[in-house]
Symmetry: C2
Subunit: 212 residues, 2 copies
Amino acid sequence: MKRVKVSNNVIRRLPRYLRKLDELKASGVGRISSFNLGQQLGLTPSQIRQDFSCFGEFGQQGYGYNVKYLYEEIAKILGLHKQHNLILIGAGHLGQALANYVNFERRGFVLKGIFDIDTAIHGQKIRGIEIRPMEEIESFMRDHAIDIAVLTIPKAEAVKIADELVSFGIKAIWNFAHVDLDVPEDTVVENVHLSESLMRLSYNLANSSVTD
Amino acid sequence: MKRVKVSNNVIRRLPRYLRKLDELKASGVGRISSFNLGQQLGLTPSQIRQDFSCFGEFGQQGYGYNVKYLYEEIAKILGLHKQHNLILIGAGHLGQALANYVNFERRGFVLKGIFDIDTAIHGQKIRGIEIRPMEEIESFMRDHAIDIAVLTIPKAEAVKIADELVSFGIKAIWNFAHVDLDVPEDTVVENVHLSESLMRLSYNLANSSVTD
């Protein structure tokens, strides 16, 4: 497959394409033109063709895209054809919410273990998955071929735990702690900073009421 | 204040500046150069100066920025000098996690009411805030000057509820439902699509292991 350097904006749109194609598949649509797909996503047809051209050719000029084929190709580009094994670190409210979210598994993200510093909750289960002591992370990662760690712990702890995870060989961290992690370049970090999202909302609210 | 059209990338960086300045303030730093600030954020000095120039002048050439002043100005730009009143719709796991997150209040985002479709949990409280029936949203919004609704409900319900919220006069929706909301242009929507974030992580994981 032809691969050029793909911009963050394209990467950011790929999951949206996938979601839309999933909906189209579910409603029985077999083919779609870049024009129609664009309309449904608020993008121009040329934008869509340009995005897809980063990865090769998915459609034939004038015939549109085969929805099922395009869905599968984008899923592959996103690495969703493989199973990912996850551990969750921090069984507080947010950790529990994520552990209970079954839809991630539909996409191949399988939660294998939960870890927390609080001895009082060790042995308890969330959706059948046991909460374990932090000391067991290293051996658990080895035994269960863990590639992704979900960090839902306070920011004060997150940097230290991330360092440990890296030394244990973690490949990717889904970071909900409100801090920038300083990890080696080959460790993938995807941040979800909820308070930053709320601030962007606040910014847009403050500026939408300005008439200009 | 001079205002030019501000790009999404700049808006995206503002909360990061704020967080860093908050840390600098807390550790007693009074002034910082764009060079040092850039180093700590992985940005070039000229990038930083360019970002700030969208909003006016915050520093004096050669003297750097006054940390406290810059913090306050950015907080103002983000609309954080005003209190925002929130309602939360959907008291499932994620809703509960957000309702329990006290740090939002530090930034002026005050949760006033929680609503859920499940009659069995009406009257229960999360952090002292009562869970109420959906039918009370309209009057509650009026009585408590609500400007932001947090949507933590399944995607099937989200579109309909968003329409209702708009008709009740909501100004902004913080949307955790995995669906694009179709609201009027003057309603602000900030999406947090967790599964899209996880897919970007998966993409980067798939592509980081490629040696190129």
